[in-house]
């Protein structure tokens, strides 16, 4: 079978990094290298974060005064819809898995690439197409339905072209997400190196695995629902619109069958990042490894059974509400298990307050509050008055911004030396973490209070008694934005001025830190043998510039 003509030339050991492997725009846009695709995702989602962030600042400025300070009511509705849609579909869902996960997953496995590099590239381009559709929505006049797109309002003909484009964008980004999930699961299943059983994997991989399961099972339902809505709007099928004999509640069921699990698509990878960082910067093996690993899967599974807690007041049967309320309580248990294990990991550890760790500490504080307020919303009796108030807004921003975005920043700083080969400036990084933390709390704590007092969400104006809450919140939003700008500036500055990164600047034990920073095109010359990802024995710091090395033979 083998002739010299078919045989592939044995690649020589490479020395240049993946950044130098091929030049020019095309070598990036059509690359199959998971690292470059990860970087392109990183740039794309950061741009989306910037766009969504600008929307948010306009919203907050508008809410400076009770009757609205800046834009028309109609524009306000469109702005909060696009803010939500961009942040959720284009930043926070793809954020950690597609950008950091793409880069890190094969490296942690000692693999040369993902299982399906072409699928990976396709997934990226589907994402870009979806993002462009959302931009076009903006151009054709926007949508004012909220990111939840509930019919009948959303599918009335008065909504125009925007809603059709938005639904198409949801389908495109959905397929992008599904393909990423398929790729990650297949890679983790089949490409683990010798010496790495399931319970020897870094917890970030467990988190991505559980995320992949959710992506594959829930996202297609959103896709087909968006497609049904699209056709309903054009052809009046009578599926979701009562005037044609349809059932709008069914849309809500389908929507939340995706969108509740989607919150775990966001938080599980974030928890994965936290598990890595907390162990490395406490210089202690992670506490309760198996519990953290298995609780990721538990969250993935139970998370499918709780969607009805978004519909307590939508006309769902009382018994269904009762069951959903109970299951919601149940799903918070695995999250709590993780939190306790992280705290126990830090106990008597030698904690190093580098930027990733500072971000992670703020994560603990904020995720604690976000998760606990979820319980109030999951309990039937308390949710009925709190539903659709600013309490809900504050809850989900605590978990999405305060937990997921902060974990994203932690992970970004943690893996930045590996991605770019440069060390960022610690002082700037820590300062950004503090600004983000303070700004965040200033923005969203007042919203909890306003929500408890009954301020409803999604209105362009509000009762004057809430003025103080809203002004504090607006000031907080600018502090938060400043923190993000400082973080970005620090990272970008390091690209030119940063110290060269050693292979292992943190003294971490997982496989990605055994190769050069930045890695070569093929990552590993030979498939490495894995050892415990949290086994720090024998690692010691040579110097700041040379980083940590492992003394073999211990």
């Amino acid at each position: 079978m083998s002739t010299a003509a078919v045989a592939v030339r044995a690649p020589a050991h490479e020395t240049g990094s993946y950044l130098e492997h091929g030049r020019g725009v095309r070598s990036w846009l059509f690359t199959l290298d998971h690292k470059r695709i990860g970087i392109m995702y990183l740039v794309a989602i950061s741009a989306c974060l910037l766009l969504g962030g600008v929307f948010a600042l306009v919203l907050r400025m508008h809410l400076w005064s009770p009757q609205g300070a800046l834009v028309s009511n109609d524009a306000y509705n469109k702005l909060f819809t696009l803010h939500g849609a961009v942040m959720i579909f284009l930043f926070i869902i793809p954020g950690i898995p597609a950008a950091l996960g793409n880069f890190v997953l094969p490296l942690q496995l000692g693999a040369k690439d993902l299982a399906f590099p072409r699928v990976n590239l396709l997934s990226f381009w589907l994402f870009v197409a979806g993002a462009i559709f959302f931009l076009v929505v903006l151009v054709v006049g926007g949508v004012d339905t909220g990111w939840t797109l509930y019919p009948p309002y959303s599918l009335e003909s008065a909504r125009g072209l925007g809603i059709l484009l938005a639904l198409s964008a949801v389908v495109l980004t959905g397929f992008s997400s599904i393909l990423t999930g398929v790729n990650f699961i297949a890679t983790i299943h089949r490409m683990r190196p010798p010496g790495m059983g399931w319970f020897d994997m870094p917890l970030f991989l467990w988190a991505l695995y559980a995320t992949g399961v959710i992506q594959i099972i829930s996202t297609p339902v959103l896709g087909i629902t968006a497609a049904m809505g699209f056709l309903e709007r054009i052809f009046h099928l009578g599926l979701f619109m009562p005037e044609y004999g349809g059932d709008p509640i069914l849309f809500q069921h389908f929507f939340w069958f995706y969108s509740h699990p989607a919150v775990y698509i966001m938080i599980l990878p974030a928890m994965g990042v936290v598990s890595e960082v907390v162990s490395v910067f406490s210089r202690k093996p992670i506490f309760g490894y198996r519990f953290i690993a298995v609780s990721s899967m538990a969250i993935a599974i139970i998370g499918f059974l709780v969607w009805g807690h978004h519909m307590f007041v939508s006309g769902q049967s009382r018994w269904a509400s009762l069951a959903f309320s109970f299951l919601t309580m149940l799903v918070s248990i695995p999250s709590a298990i993780k939190t306790f294990n992280w705290i126990a990991t830090m106990y008597k550890g030698a904690i190093v307050l580098k930027t990733p760790m500072v971000y992670v500490l703020t994560f603990f504080a904020i995720f604690g509050v976000g998760g606990l307020t979820g319980l109030f919303l999951g309990l039937l009796a308390t949710d009925v008055p709190l539903h659709d108030t600013y309490f809900v807004v504050a809850h989900f921003h605590f978990v999405m911004v305060g937990a997921v975005m902060i974990a994203f920043l932690a992970g970004l700083h943690y893996w930045w030396p590996k991605m770019t080969g440069r060390m960022y400036h610690e002082g700037v990084g820590v300062a950004s973490a503090w600004l983000v933390f303070l700004g965040f709390n200033l923005t969203f704590v007042p919203q909890f209070l306003a929500g408890v007092l009954g301020m409803p969400r999604r209105y362009a104006t509000y009762a004057p008694q809430f003025t103080a809450h809203n002004r504090l919140s607006t000031v907080g939003a600018f502090v938060l934005a400043l923190g993000l700008v400082v973080a970005l500036a620090g990272l970008l500055h390091s690209l030119r001025r940063g110290r060269r990164a050693p292979p292992n600047p943190w003294g971490a034990a997982s496989l990605e830190w055994t190769i050069a920073s930045p890695p070569t095109h093929h990552n590993f010359d030979e498939t490495p043998r894995a050892r415990g990802p949290y086994d720090y024995s024998g690692l010691h710091e040579v110097s700041e510039d040379a980083g940590w090395v492992r003394e073999e033979g211990r």
Partner: protein, 235 residues
Amino acid sequence: MDATAQPAPAARHERSRFLAVQFEDMAAQLATGKLGIWLFLANEVLFFSALFVSYGVYRSHHPELFRYASQFLDWRMGATNTIVLISSSLAAAWSVRAAQLGNQRTLIRSLVLTVVLAATFMVVKYFEYSHKLHNGVGWGTACNPSPELLASLPAAVRAIPVPAHLGTFFSLYYLMTGLHGIHVLVGIGLYVWLIVRARRGDFGPGYYGPVDAVALYWHLVDLVWIFLFPLLYLI
């Protein structure tokens, strides 16, 4: 760089040109590809499932509507298509076996047979759709069956007044069979691609992953139809 750590040069020579760089050997590549396609099929099942759930919900709300509306569907056409599709699945399975055995002629023949049967399915579907649309049976609000069609129904059915929102049933009918039909068309495309590659002699005992993967997909398309046929035609 010590030489002992590198695979022997002979092993390098064995590397098939179909083996992607990230895999150690063909067996690993095949197994991974197969897992990937199974995961993709899980996603497909969920994709259809929302339509099946909608079907369940609307049917439990309006059982009489569903019983009435299914009179408009011709179970003979549906049954024919069921047989056609099951036969094509057999041909697909056959093609996998032929590739594994390296039997080039059987491989190409069975692939061609699969395509022919799939195309037959679509032709029957075309006649069904055009007959309905011709008689005013569209979807949603566009469903206004012509008097001739109503007159052709069995007497027992004719006695019942046309229920409101008849179109909802046909919305589901067109959505479900339409989405399924799109899958059949994609399948035809994939099989044509396989035929081109098979004629080039790409497949054999050492490399048959694509034939296997497309066949798995095709069996799922078949399976979906096996649920659609009784749910739509036989109620």
